[in-house]
């Protein structure tokens, strides 16, 4: 039927078969590709656990806090602190915590004969806990998988708002220092002193650890600024509910007017400025935002808890926003894309009932995983098993890739995917004084 076309295709195939293969150059390209990839993975090796309602910013392009090499070395020499040096360099609040000796060494260890876990230190406030610990194993871990850790206070599980922990990159190493960043769903009572960390590592088999410890330093009380102020940016109403300052982070609680024509996603430059012009901006290396059950968004800024500036002004000028009519709708059963945003930046590259893969032209560094959650045609959330994002910083166009894996196929098609971030912006000038 298509003999002529097929003949031409066969000729071309024949030509391709006889193509000279530049063996050496290709071997070199393969090595270079692996090296290139390793470099990027190092930048983004946080593995992240997301609760249904928690959105997470994977390691973004970090603006470094100025830390002298001497300071970094000093910190790295403290027990368990090398894991924290990264955090200090991207978070002023974290540096202030170390400066003000709010980090507390703890001693707890548990072993199952093969693997030994030793807690080194914690930073705990009402909003969450950062734990550093060391994993030792006699034989070296092959392909360790760290299950979601749990923290108990006075024998009761502390409900997490979100947890992130380092990917155990040091496979095969006998010892490695690790870090857990655990956000509490509700404020921790300030008198709490007794905790227990439970974790599980799967290697060839499952290893369980329980590490009780107590802290001596009092839990710092968060300072709350109730605001309830409505601001308007390009016609969109944003309600700043409150700002709470903890040592680990500043929480900015934000609601959006239902009549808005756009969904506001990420705040690009939300910040607190003091009278001298010093600025505390978003947390870039870790969780950047989360959503409460009632829909209130909580954004995290680096903390100035210890600086206690007299004058504090909350500011923001640019935010990501997308028109509410611009949706991503997919029928995963038919493998059909029903709608994507009309700017053509988003492309669906793979569809199956359990998984969707997408690609976004970001036009420059972006650094956000942009898919948040999917709801089915009955408006029910689709259980998400995991998601992944990575980006290329090639020449010319830059792309970010984001995929979502669903826990089951037990949902009604088509599904609508909500965005967590999107490279479309609105601008204004919001200035609120905190006092």
């Amino acid at each position: 039927m298509f003999e002529e076309e097929e003949k031409k295709l066969a000729q071309k195939r024949h030509a391709l078969d006889h193509l000279e293969i530049p063996e050496k150059a290709l071997s070199h390209a393969i090595r270079a590709g692996v090296a290139q990839s390793e470099k990027k993975m190092k930048r983004a090796r946080k593995s992240v656990f997301t609760l249904a309602a928690v959105a997470v910013l994977l390691l973004a392009f970090v603006t470094s806090v100025r830390v002298s090499p001497a300071f970094a070395n000093m910190v790295a020499s403290l027990p368990g602190m090398s894991a924290i040096v990264d955090m200090i360099q991207s978070d002023k609040g974290m540096k202030a915590i170390i400066d003000n000796e709010y980090y507390e060494e703890v001693h707890a260890t548990d072993s199952d004969g093969n693997i030994t876990i030793t807690l080194n230190g914690v930073i705990v406030d009402q909003s969450g806990m950062v734990i550093t610990y060391t994993v030792d194993s006699a034989t070296g871990l092959k392909d360790p998988l760290f299950e979601t850790p749990e923290i108990y206070a006075d024998g009761k599980l502390i409900e997490p708002q979100g947890i992130s922990w380092n990917y155990p990159a040091a496979a095969d190493a006998r010892t490695s220092e690790q870090l857990i960043d655990y956000h509490f769903a509700d404020p921790l009572p300030i008198g709490t002193t007794e905790f227990e960390v439970r974790m599980q590592i799967r290697d060839d088999e499952s290893h369980h650890f329980r590490l009780p410890f107590s802290i001596k330093k009092p839990v710092a009380q968060g300072k709350v600024f109730p605001l309830d102020r409505t601001v308007i940016v390009e016609g969109q109403k944003i309600i700043i509910r409150s700002i709470t300052i903890h040592p680990l982070r500043v929480e900015v609680a934000v609601d959006f007017d239902e009549a808005n024509t756009m969904d506001i996603l990420q705040f690009e430059d939300m910040r607190i400025v003091d009278g001298k012009g010093e600025t505390w901006s978003s947390i870039r290396n870790g969780m950047s935002a989360t959503e409460e059950e009632d829909g209130t968004q909580i954004y995290f800024l680096q903390s100035n808890y210890f600086e206690k500036p007299e004058l504090m002004v909350f500011r923001m000028n640019e935010m990501q926003a997308i028109d509410k009519n611009e949706k991503l709708i997919i029928d995963t059963r038919l493998g059909k894309v029903i709608q994507t945003p009309s700017d053509g930046k988003l492309e669906v590259t793979g569809i199956s009932p359990r998984r969707i893969e997408t690609k976004l032209r970001t036009g420059g560094e972006f650094g956000y995983g942009y898919l948040m959650e999917a709801t089915d045609s009955n408006g029910k959330p689709v259980d998400q098993k995991s998601g992944g994002m990575w980006s290329t910083d090639g020449k010319g166009d830059t792309f970010t890739y984001n995929d979502m894996e669903f826990a089951d196929t037990d949902y009604a098609n088509p599904i609508t995917v909500r965005f967590f971030a999107y490279p479309n912006y609105i601008r204004g000038d919001v200035t609120l004084r905190l006092d």
Binding site: F2, E4, E5, I30, G33, V34, Q36, S37, K40
Partner: protein, 172 residues
């Protein structure tokens, strides 16, 4: 060691196994790149970029037996992006030898292939250049086999229309 074993070990994070796997498939991947990009330098670069992307994602390679198809898919995605990025201006290195009739045919075919929508071109490529079975293409594209067949048919018809419509005098 079998290809599948290299792939399985690569999927577990074994870097040497991954490099061995890439070595096994580098000629195929290079040919794929060349079919799209038609340039040695760009095709070598494509192999590097695809290596980087594949290495990053290799833990998600569920079935090591499909490593080659999986890599081919990453390569085709890369090439199609690259072509989109470049636009469609013809580049000098693929000008045909004017004397050779079959070179002219191939050149004409290249033009026709480039005029196809991304998906059609990918299907034609997989079927005729990678010589994949309909079943394999269906798996790769995550569409039913019947759909692969009908879309291939449609793609060939688009090719024919290109040849009969403007084939003889495609502008260069």
């Amino acid at each position: 060691m079998e290809e599948t074993e290299w792939a399985a070990r690569a999927a577990k994070g074994d870097q040497e196994a991954f490099i061995r796997l890439m070595e096994l498939h580098k000629a195929t991947l290079y040919r794929t790149a060349f079919a799209f990009l038609k340039d040695q330098h760009a095709s070598i670069e494509a192999v590097q970029e695809v290596t980087a992307r594949a290495y990053k994602a290799v833990r998600r390679l569920k079935n090591p037996a499909f490593a080659k198809t999986w890599l081919t898919r990453i390569m085709i995605n890369y090439c199609q992006d690259e072509l989109k990025r470049r636009g469609r201006e013809p580049s000098s290195d693929r000008l045909p030898d004017p004397g050779a009739r079959d070179a002219y045919d191939r050149f004409e075919l290249d033009e026709a292939l480039e005029a196809l929508p991304g998906e059609s071109r990918r299907l034609i490529h997989l079927k005729y250049f990678e010589e994949m079975k309909i079943r394999e293409i269906a798996e790769l594209e995550q569409i039913p086999e019947g759909t692969v067949k009908s879309r291939l048919h449609y793609s060939l018809r688009q090719l024919r229309e290109f040849f009969t419509g403007k084939g003889g005098n495609a502008d260069v």
